[in-house]
Symmetry: C2
Subunit: 296 residues, 2 copies
Amino acid sequence: MNHEGSLFKQVTIVGVGLIGGSLGMAIKKHQVAQEVIGLSNRHSSLVDALQNKAIDRGFHDIKKAVETADLVIMATPVKTIVNLLPIVTKYLKRGCIVTDVGSTKTTIVDCAERYLTSAFFVGSHPLAGSEKTGIIFANPDLFHQSLCLMTPTPKTNRAAEEKVRALWTSLGARVKTFTPLEHDKILAYISHLPHLVAYALIGVIPDEYLPYVAQGLKDTTRIAASSPYMWNDICLTNPKNIVHTLDELVKRISLLRKSILLKDEQNLIENFKKSKSKRESLDQAPEPNAPSTGPI
Amino acid sequence: MNHEGSLFKQVTIVGVGLIGGSLGMAIKKHQVAQEVIGLSNRHSSLVDALQNKAIDRGFHDIKKAVETADLVIMATPVKTIVNLLPIVTKYLKRGCIVTDVGSTKTTIVDCAERYLTSAFFVGSHPLAGSEKTGIIFANPDLFHQSLCLMTPTPKTNRAAEEKVRALWTSLGARVKTFTPLEHDKILAYISHLPHLVAYALIGVIPDEYLPYVAQGLKDTTRIAASSPYMWNDICLTNPKNIVHTLDELVKRISLLRKSILLKDEQNLIENFKKSKSKRESLDQAPEPNAPSTGPI
């Protein structure tokens, strides 16, 4: 499992933003690889990644960046991952392991299993990150005590799966395993729905009321400052699950609306009480084996 | 304006929870009154308020609590304010000023202007407080750099209005003035809507997914831990405006839903960009005269 004490000899990170940059820093901090290579089509991103010691060397050229890698981590928005995988695969050495950090998994895993022939793919989704983007927000402890969801399939090479699991646990993350379908269904509720709600909620506030906004609305809409491109990709690669959660939310809102119009106090209080108790349960100390609750 | 250096001789606070308790502490800290009296029907609340030095004396008896007051501050949930005003008014001395901290204003101001005959009423709504309740979360600086909305009407006594304004500014709040109708329209958007959304959002998350919830959903639903009784009162006293904002939100969600199903990337990205920029504007430094953004 070791190459002179490291889990990997060379790790290449494709995309060196908040997650890619933090990965580079964390991999170097925990000596998970002997060398970290960064790939980006933006010169300034590579310079920033080098200056922040997130990577040892940076390339614009895909072949140069990946051809000697033992592990390639795709850390771009989902659609870019899907676009790059068929190209990247051409330059990988036999037995190279590929993982990713994409927020939806079905599309990515399908694409990887179609195009990656001589390399081993295992899907990952570290529940880290935030509405912030770019390496200036990167930090080597981003994955410490976070949860990482892995999405192996019956086609996944078990040794590759174990090495990717070792990567995440080395960085301090706890790993849970789901099928890609389960992952996308769960994430639609716990991440995609709240992001769309935040975008919609701030969207309907009349501009002239913005000076009076206080902490409640600010917290409720913090994640509406997330990357529009990243969230477009997520919406287009998990549409069925997301639309289902939107419909569930609208149903719930319609019930509240009806109770308000009917002055149905019993129903309103009962509803609010259930939600309050559910929300408060999230702040309880996690069970020994429960995942952490880092930013998502 | 002064009674031996204080703005008021005796202030009586009706309800000594988070807001009432914090008011007592702040009034004593800033020497706004010579004596602070607390009224509560719960013995333990009075004991807690005394122990936390939020009040100098506490009563269960309405008459005893208010008969010598120069200022009475109604600091209970909205419906309790409306139920108590017709009783409290019987015991007030001539010229007593009454204000409140209720989250909706039309119902309260209508009630006060109907029942308060020999006292002067001015509606207030300090945008402070949070999902926490009870005096254990009270603090004397809760109103410091916060925004307080006052809702005088053509019937309001101007001297009383100025004294209530002086109360809030003495506690460090900035005051903005609206009609009760304007207040309820604005608050429906910036406070009532996000609370209902938070209750609905956490409500639809399947229980089995709760272990995987992370910071995004937690922030989006923090205010769902707010008091069910307080929010029932708010819903029932501002139904028209709240239902309107719910309808606006559902319309916006339906547009997003449609764009997702049509894979309309341009529309999704445009929509997300506008929301992102609007949300980011809330984190800009406020203009010199802009209100603060304390918890609401």
